[in-house]
């Protein structure tokens, strides 16, 4: 790419469409190292489409996405929505976490020692080291998400991209997963971009907010967002408890 950016990710006037219909238009925002960005908005506001564009699953119909800091779409650790993978899939936890290393050892057919080390570290970090040989299908919902997060961690150079990571989890697992993500952000310096329905949690952990509704309704720091009108609009005038 000719254009350079000082940010890790910068979108300039991005437009995305499905079958000729515009889903998102004129989206501009930036993500710096160490940011915790929450993308919020109603269903159908284009959040998932934007995510797909960031990991190059979808080509923009206009504008551009720039990566700085030596990154590319492939060095993002992606955690898809839970419908993307199969819950009853016959696989060991280790097999799944290791598959996160695929993007980095492209020239090699098999995993290298450093990939195995990386996977072991990711499992350790997520507190699932003792589950390495367990079967994925037998795990609880919370454990499954930790496995998928560990896989994302294997793929992540500096950025984690999480698409509704806590949907369907019980309150304890939700809290645990949020604090794991927050600690990756604070202690490991991992940039976090998260799509979330959970406004209250987003406002607890994030430092930046991107509010989408077919285009950018708001982009800025959490403090600015709290002072803006957009939050109230999203909550339907109920305010946060």
């Amino acid at each position: 790419m000719k254009n350079k950016t000082l940010y890790q990710i910068e979108c300039r006037g991005l437009a995305l469409s499905y079958e000729g219909k515009n889903v998102l238009s004129n989206v501009s925002f930036s993500v710096s190292a160490g940011d915790y960005l929450c993308i919020v908005g109603e269903n159908g506001s284009g959040k998932s489409t934007l995510i797909k564009a960031l990991i190059s699953l979808k080509k923009p119909s206009g504008g551009e996405i720039l990566f700085g800091d030596g990154l590319s779409g492939k060095s993002i650790g992606y955690l898809p929505q839970q419908t993307a993978f199969k819950r009853d899939f016959p696989a060991k936890v280790r097999e799944i976490v290791l598959s996160g290393c695929l993007g980095r050892s492209k020239a090699h057919l098999f995993y290298l020692a450093q990939d195995k080390k990386r996977a072991a570290y990711a499992m350790e970090r997520m507190g699932i080291a003792e589950l390495a040989e367990a079967s994925f299908a037998n795990l609880s919902g919370g454990q499954k998400q930790k496995v998928i997060l560990a896989r994302a961690l294997c793929a992540a150079e500096k950025i984690l991209l999480l698409d509704e990571p806590v949907t369907g989890l019980d309150p304890t697992s939700t809290k645990e997963l949020y604090s794991l993500i927050s600690s990756l952000n604070k202690n490991d310096g991992m940039t976090v971009i998260m799509v979330s329905h959970d406004i209250a949690q987003s406002l607890t952990y994030a430092n930046k907010i991107l509010h989408l509704d077919r285009s950018v309704k708001f982009f800025g720091t959490k403090e600015e967002y709290l002072a803006s009108n957009e939050l109230g609009a999203l909550l339907g005038g109920d305010g946060i408890e």
């Binding site: 898809p80 199969k86 060991k92 097999e95 598959s99 695929l102 993007g103 037998n138 793929a155």
Partner: protein
């Protein structure tokens, strides 16, 4: 009966007879050909089946086998070589099915159902215009021991070598893209390429195996071993190995049974596949109950 227990099993007359008559059958070249093709095709189908079943697109095998039936029938009418004629048609259909199910508004399952029934209709019309329903047609549908020629063997060997190399060397990639296509794509894997290759080798497997196994039965070889293995094992590697073993054992037993009791070859192989699936379900149930 104390003496009975001292008689080793290979001297029991019934078994002796079975082995003796199997020996006679296997002195015929065509039986050996059918055996080799049947076992290799089963092996390929089972490995492809693991990824197809897990990606919920095993119906593509069913659709392709119906296309193959139509192509075989037309080749018989035209007097063309069955394999040379049907192979390209089935491969093209595989690519088409993949494209249709991804890009169009017709759902994948509906697209497969349309193409299946249209192919069978064309095949049946072709047959009725010429010979009518005869034993040839019967063997297209349910398989025959005598259909294989020497050239088919080389094709079957080449195919299975390719499938084994593909599966072993790209194992990690096949795993990743079977488990989560979006993630694999985001990691830079060319998932479209893998999908197309899988569909094409599935098509070739079906075209080669169809005359031994039968067009109506061959999709069972894709589904049964994978599902059976998944009843017992919980890791991708173990499921792959177990499915391959189940397929090879079922095919060997099926062809032997087909020789001994003059059963239709495909039906015998599928029956053994079904039995192995039931045994796996039972074993799986016992393992889970034991925990």
């Amino acid at each position: 009966m104390p003496q009975m227990s001292l008689v080793p099993f290979w001297e029991v007359t019934a078994l002796n007879n079975i082995f003796a008559s199997l020996g006679v059958y296997f002195s015929y070249k065509f039986v050996i050909f059918a055996f080799i093709v049947g076992v290799l095709v089963s092996l390929c189908a089972s490995l492809l089946g693991v990824t197809l079943v897990l990606r919920r697109c095993s119906m593509i095998g069913d659709g392709l086998s119906h296309v193959a039936f139509g192509a075989l029938a037309i080749s018989a009418v035209l007097g063309a070589s069955p394999l040379a004629f049907s192979l390209p048609i089935v491969v093209i259909s595989a690519i088409l099915l993949l494209r249709i199910s991804e890009n169009s508004k017709i759902g994948g399952d509906a697209a497969i159902a349309m193409i299946s029934s249209a192919s069978v209709a064309i095949g049946v019309i072709a047959i009725s215009l010429t010979t009518g329903m005869n034993s040839d047609v019967n063997s297209y549908m349910f398989g025959s021991l005598t259909a294989m020629e020497e050239s088919d063997i080389y094709l079957a060997i080449a195919l299975s070598v390719f499938v084994l190399i593909f599966y072993v060397f790209f194992y990690n990639r096949i795993f990743a893209f079977t488990f989560d296509e979006d993630f694999a794509k985001a990691a830079g894997l060319r998932t479209e390429l893998y999908k197309t290759v899988t569909a094409i080798i599935t098509a070739i497997t079906i075209a080669i195996g169809m005359r031994v196994i039968g067009a109506m039965l061959i999709s069972a070889l894709i589904i049964f071993p994978a599902l059976g293995a998944m009843r017992v094992f919980r890791s991708f590697k173990a499921v792959s190995i177990c499915a391959a073993l189940l397929a090879v054992i079922s095919a060997s037993l099926g062809i032997c049974a087909s020789c001994l009791w003059a059963l239709p070859t495909g039906a015998a192989i599928v029956a053994f596949n079904a039995i192995s699936f039931l045994l796996c379900s039972l074993a799986g149930g016992i393992i889970r109950y034991g925990r």
